[in-house]
C-alpha cells in the first residue's frame, strides 16, 4: 500500500486495525509516525466532542412525559416542562377563575418565565423562520394569526401559562426583536406594566385571553400591541 492510500484510510478510520494497515505501519517509520499523529488528533477530536451531558435528567424527563401521557396530560418541550415546574412553584396562589389579582400572579409568572428561558429563546430567533410554524402553534391554542403578524414572527414555541398552554414568540418590533407571551386563557381587564431586573413587560388583553410584550428597553410598543390585538384571533373567526 502506498503512503497516500495509508493516509486516506487513516483519515477515515484512524484506529483501523486491519492486517494490511498494521503491516504497513510496522514496515515503515514514516507510516508509523503518521499513525501516531492521527491518533493524537483523534484524541483531540474526541475530547472536543465530549461535552457534558446529564443523561439521567433527559431520561427522567422522558419518563415523566410517559407517565403524563398515560394520564392524558399534553407533553410540552423539555424546557417548557422545566419552566412549568418553575412557574408552578413561583406562582402559588394565582386565581384560575378569571383575571388574576392586580399585578401579583401575572407579574410573577411573566418574570419567572422570562428568567427561565427568555434570553435563550431570543437567541433562537431567525429571519428564515417558517411562518407555517406560527399557524401550527396558534391552531393548537384554538387561534389563528394574520399574515401581517406572521411576517414579523422570528420564532414560536409552546409554553406553560398560569391557565394552560400558551405561546412564546419572538416578534420583530420597531426597535428589534422582542419577546411575546400569548396567554389564551388568562384574562386581564386593562393593560399593566411590569418592571423587573432591567426588563419591562406590557401585559394587555387580546380578543380572547391576553399577551405580554417583554423587552429590556424603556420603550413602549403601542404599534406592536395593536398589531397583536388585531392579528391573534379566534380560530373560528
Amino acid at each position: 500500500m502506498d503512503f497516500s492510500e495509508f493516509i486516506r484510510r487513516l483519515g477515515a478510520e484512524p484506529r483501523d486495525q486491519q492486517p494490511d494497515m498494521l503491516s504497513a505501519r510496522a514496515g515503515s517509520p514514516e507510516f508509523d509516525r503518521a499513525a501516531v499523529a492521527a491518533e493524537a488528533f483523534e484524541q483531540q477530536l474526541e475530547a472536543a466532542l465530549h461535552v457534558p451531558a446529564d443523561g439521567d435528567a433527559l431520561l427522567e424527563a422522558a419518563l415523566q412525559w410517559a407517565s403524563r401521557e398515560q394520564k392524558n396530560v399534553p407533553r410540552w418541550p423539555w424546557l417548557a416542562v422545566a419552566a412549568s415546574i418553575l412557574v408552578v412553584v413561583g406562582v402559588v396562589g394565582i386565581s384560575r377563575q378569571g383575571a388574576p389579582g392586580p399585578g401579583g400572579g401575572i407579574e410573577h409568572y411573566v418574570r419567572a418565565h422570562f428568567d427561565h428561558d427568555g434570553q435563550q429563546v431570543l437567541a433562537m430567533a431567525s429571519e428564515g423562520f417558517n411562518p407555517a410554524e406560527l399557524e401550527r402553534v396558534l391552531a393548537q391554542l384554538d387561534k389563528r394569526g394574520t399574515a401581517a403578524l406572521a411576517e414579523r414572527v422570528r420564532f414560536v414555541k409552546f409554553c406553560p401559562t398560569p391557565d394552560g398552554k400558551g405561546a412564546h414568540m419572538v416578534v420583530e418590533s420597531e426597535s428589534g426583536p422582542v419577546t411575546v407571551i400569548v396567554m389564551p386563557n388568562t384574562r386581564v381587564e386593562n393593560s399593566m406594566l411590569v418592571q423587573f431586573d432591567g426588563h419591562q413587560a406590557t401585559v394587555f388583553p387580546l380578543n380572547s385571553g391576553s399577551a405580554a410584550i417583554i423587552s429590556d428597553s424603556g420603550q413602549q410598543y403601542a404599534a406592536l400591541q395593536t398589531l397583536l390585538q388585531s392579528s391573534i384571533l379566534p380560530r373560528s373567526s
Binding site: I7, R8, R9, G11, A12, E13, P14, A34, A37, A38, A40, F41, E42, Q44, L45, E46, A47, A48, L49, H50, V51, P52, A53, D54, G55, D56, L58, L59, A61, A62, L63, W65, A66, Q70, R75, P77, W78, L79, D117, Q120, V121, A123, M124, A125, S126, E127, G128, N130, F155
Partner: protein, 175 residues
C-alpha cells in the same frame, strides 16, 4: 412487577445508557443546547411509544439514532438558528488544560460546527456514537466508500482550518 413497571425498567435499561451520547449527537447537529434537548426529548418520547415493537435489543442504538435523525429532518432542522451557541454550551471541561490547550479545543469545536452537514454527520456518528464505517453507510444509506471519503474530508478540513487559524500543538505538522 406490573406491565408499566416492566416497560419502565426495560426503557431505562435499554435507552438510558445512550441518552448522554444522543444529546451530544443532537447538540453537534443543531449547534444549540435548547434545541438539542428538545430533539433528544422527542426522540426518547417516540422510543417510549414504540418500545414494545423493538424486538432486537442489540439494535437499540441504531434504532434510537434513526428516530433522532428522522425527527431532526422532519421538525428540528429548520429551527436551527444561524449562529450556534456551542461556546455557551460547553461550560467547563473536566480534564486539566493549559490556556493554550483550551484555545485549541475551543477553535476545534467551532470548526467542527462549521463543517458542512454531509461531513459533520458521519464524523459524529463515528466519533460520538462509535459507529463503524459499515454502520454509518447503513444509517446514511450511502456506500461505505462514500462514507470513508466524507470522513477523510471532514478530518482534513478540520486540520486545514486549524492550521489556517495558526493553532499549533498536536495538529501542527500533521501530514
Amino acid at each position: 412487577m406490573d406491565k408499566d413497571a416492566k416497560k419502565h425498567a426495560r426503557f431505562t435499561r435499554l435507552v438510558g445508557p445512550y441518552a448522554p451520547d444522543l444529546y451530544r449527537f443532537g447538540l453537534w447537529l443543531c449547534g444549540h443546547d435548547a434545541l438539542a434537548k428538545d430533539l433528544v426529548q422527542e426522540t426518547l418520547v417516540r422510543a417510549w411509544r414504540a418500545l414494545d415493537k423493538l424486538n432486537d435489543e442489540a439494535a437499540v442504538k441504531s434504532w434510537l439514532i434513526t428516530i433522532l435523525r428522522r425527527e431532526y429532518a422532519r421538525t428540528f432542522e429548520r429551527k436551527v438558528p444561524p449562529l450556534s451557541d456551542i461556546d455557551n454550551v460547553v461550560i467547563e471541561d473536566t480534564d486539566e488544560l493549559t490556556p493554550e490547550q483550551r484555545t485549541e479545543r475551543s477553535h476545534l469545536r467551532q470548526r467542527i460546527m462549521a463543517l458542512a452537514p454531509r461531513y459533520r454527520e458521519p464524523l459524529l456518528l463515528q466519533v460520538v456514537m462509535g459507529y463503524s464505517c459499515d454502520e454509518i453507510a447503513v444509517q446514511l444509506e450511502i456506500s461505505k466508500a462514500a462514507v470513508m471519503t466524507q470522513l477523510f474530508r471532514a478530518r482534513e478540513q478540520l486540520k486545514d482550518t486549524l492550521q489556517e487559524d495558526g493553532i499549533t500543538g498536536n495538529v501542527h505538522g500533521l501530514f
